[in-house]
């Protein structure tokens, strides 16, 4: 939805101020409150839903499938489905790729191993974005975090050693004996290493306006941003992916008029909204995230629980 020049000018000047003045007076590192629900889909191994105050909603379901002779890289499959947007368009593909790489590089795949050489679990993480007004990356990332936190995998009762004699995996009937994906026990069982628990990774999109970095940008803030930064967070520090995106149009909210306008600007050789950014700003974003992300993880951990949730 296009804004009037007056609105854009007001927003930009407010956001570029030092310190920044956001439309809802938030601090640069303050997120908007979200609604969360977990564990409400008994047919999945883990499920979660996040709703944001601007009407965004994402439901994630995690299902585990036993696979044989699969390479380690294929054990995590993330698919993001955005309502109203075709699956093969850039936005869902970008989100799926970013999240898949992030989770795969952060998880110790021994958690998914079943037998020494042949069998393992493959996790299908499907995220359904029912509605969104701003770039949905934050939304999906938070939902996937909560879903993974409550994911449980059945306990293997057949032998894990199948190097000589192949055996189809058999699992315990009792769900009470299932193991939390993020817990320590599953790692100790499968690989004999220490029982360390795993905190799923997160990925954030930050808006850059002038010299200011803003977390959890609203649709308005995104429209006037110079550019957006995608930064991952895992194991207590900033991690890949690290990307620069054009937030104003990446959300898929570009009107046909704006698209044709951009097209003609490109043809004339005019630089689009997206300006380059300085090293200083990237470092600023880095330290902002380093200071803020631990609290986000703490808030999520406090919410996550093993009990069954209800959606409403």
């Amino acid at each position: 939805m296009p804004f009037s020049p007056a609105e854009i000018d007001y927003l930009r000047k407010s956001l570029q101020a030092t310190p920044t003045i956001r439309p809802d007076a938030r601090e640069p590192n303050q997120f908007r409150p979200v609604d969360a629900a977990q564990n409400f889909l008994p047919a999945t191994n883990g499920s979660a839903r996040i709703r944001t105050s601007d009407g965004g909603e994402c439901i994630v379901g995690v299902k585990a499938k036993v696979v044989k002779n699969s390479s380690v890289d294929e054990l995590i499959a993330v698919e993001v489905d955005i309502d109203d947007i075709r699956d093969d368009s850039p936005l869902p593909k970008l989100l799926s790729a970013v999240l898949q790489t992030l989770i795969l590089s952060s998880i110790d795949t021994n958690r998914l191993r079943l037998t020494r050489s042949n069998y393992a679990f493959k996790l299908h993480i499907d995220a359904l974005v029912l509605s969104h007004t701003s770039f949905p990356l934050n939304l999906v990332s938070l939902a996937i975090f909560l879903a993974l936190k409550c994911t449980r995998l059945p306990l293997l009762v057949s032998s894990a050693n199948d190097e000589e004699h192949e055996e189809v995996p058999v699992f315990s009937d009792d769900w009470e004996e299932s193991l939390a994906l993020c817990g320590g026990e599953i790692l100790a069982n499968n690989s004999g290493s220490e029982a360390i628990s795993w905190t799923p990774p997160l990925v954030f999109s930050l808006a850059v306006v002038g010299n200011n970095i803003l977390v959890d940008p609203t649709h308005e803030e995104e429209s006037v941003s110079d550019l957006g930064l995608i930064m991952g967070w895992c194991n207590g520090q900033v991690c890949a992916p690290l990307r620069i995106i054009d937030l104003a149009s990446a959300g898929g909210n570009v009107s046909p008029e704006q698209l044709s306008q951009q097209q003609s600007m490109l043809e004339q050789g005019i630089d689009l909204n997206m300006k380059g950014t300085s090293r200083k700003l990237i470092m600023k974003a880095y330290s902002l995230l380093t200071n803020t992300a631990p609290e986000v993880v703490a808030a999520l951990d406090a919410t996550a629980d093993e009990e069954d949730g209800a959606l409403f």
């Binding site: 007056a6 007001y10 000047k13 007076a25 949730g309 409403f312």
Partner: protein, 333 residues
């Protein structure tokens, strides 16, 4: 200030399931029985009897009395009038209608609304006001620079985007309604026109209480236009603001022309930091009232603002508890 607050879904309440079933039964009985009150003024309001009262749902029989005129939210089959929505039965004189519990903004003549230009057509603009259809603003219904009595020229039609283009926000009034309920707007007054120097926020239109004036000057150097359609414009107070100037007869021609040229300008004034912060604070106050479903009036907004000053950082107002506290104080005022 919490970096991130997460609310868990509240568990469902199942206690009043039984009650609900029995109420449904008693409502059904009410429909056909005359209440005692209405018995007393039977002679005047004989027709008031035999009408279902209170909450009705689609398909419910409201009355079999043919004397009523059927308004919105009802439909008739023969002499029987049924409800077509979930809502409350209202009787105004001889008109029987059902006001839906929820629905988009329904324009009425005289409503002061805020809208966004969506389309520029031949001699007219189409404006989004959050209703079921776009509203129409004719070229002849706006004031053009050069004076109110200036004749419309052909060049005006070609230059429509010079006055109002896609994305512009305007302050306007519903002049009339078309057959299908959509609105025709006009800005033929110095009070109306393009909006600058501020931000737009939206709240559900049902929460806007209709008042004599919808333009308010709020403490803190902020002016606001509370559109009846739930679109609210918050901006810097302006000494010569065309928003707040009354339609006086003593406007000189020069003043009038000057203000009209300004009317279509896209440029903002310089807005000091404190005003910007106050605008953000007011935005949060409006949102707090909306989240708690409090009807919005000038007094309540000011009360909410004053209650919010307890929080030095207006960003704390986005939390649910803070919103509830502010809304409670606003109602109490």
């Amino acid at each position: 200030m919490a970096i991130l607050t997460i609310q868990k879904a509240t568990p469902r309440e199942e206690e009043d399931v039984e009650m609900v079933y029995s109420d449904a039964d008693s409502d059904a009985e009410e429909q056909m029985v005359m209440s005692d009150d209405e018995n007393e003024d039977m002679d005047d309001n004989a027709q008031a009897a035999n009408v279902a009262a209170g909450l009705v749902t689609p398909g419910k029989l409201i009355t079999e009395d043919p004397i009523w005129m059927r308004g919105h939210g009802t439909y008739s089959v023969g002499n029987k009038t049924f409800s077509s929505t979930a809502g409350v039965v209202t009787k105004t004189n001889k008109l029987l209608s059902v006001v839906p519990l929820r629905g988009r903004y329904q324009p009425q003549i005289g409503d002061h609304v805020v809208g966004r230009i969506v389309d520029v057509g031949v001699k007219r603009w189409r404006v989004d006001i959050g209703a079921k259809q776009l509203a129409v603003l004719q070229l002849g219904s706006v004031n053009l620079p050069g004076g109110i009595l200036r004749r419309k020229q052909e060049s005006d039609e070609l230059q429509m985007r010079g006055f109002l283009k896609e994305g512009d926000l305007i302050n306007t009034e519903v002049q009339s309604l078309y057959q299908d309920g959509s609105a025709a707007l006009h800005t033929r007054s110095l009070r109306y026109g393009k909006l600058r120097n501020g931000v737009l926020i939206t709240v559900p239109s049902a929460l806007i209480v209709r008042a004599k004036s919808h333009v308010h000057q709020l403490p803190g150097g902020v002016d606001t236009v509370v559109g009846v359609n739930g679109w609210i414009w918050l901006c810097m107070a302006w000494a010569n603001s065309h928003l707040t100037r009354e339609n006086t007869t003593s406007i000189t021609r020069l003043e009038e022309e000057a203000s009209l040229t300004e009317t279509y300008s896209d440029k903002n004034e310089d807005i000091p930091r404190s005003v910007r912060e106050n605008i953000a604070r007011y935005a949060n106050c409006f949102k707090a009232l909306a989240a708690n479903e409090v009807g919005i009036t000038e007094d309540r907004v000011i009360a909410a603002y004053e209650a919010s000053l307890v929080y030095p950082s207006a960003g704390d107002l986005i939390d649910k508890e803070a919103k509830e506290i502010i809304a409670a104080k606003a109602i109490a005022a």
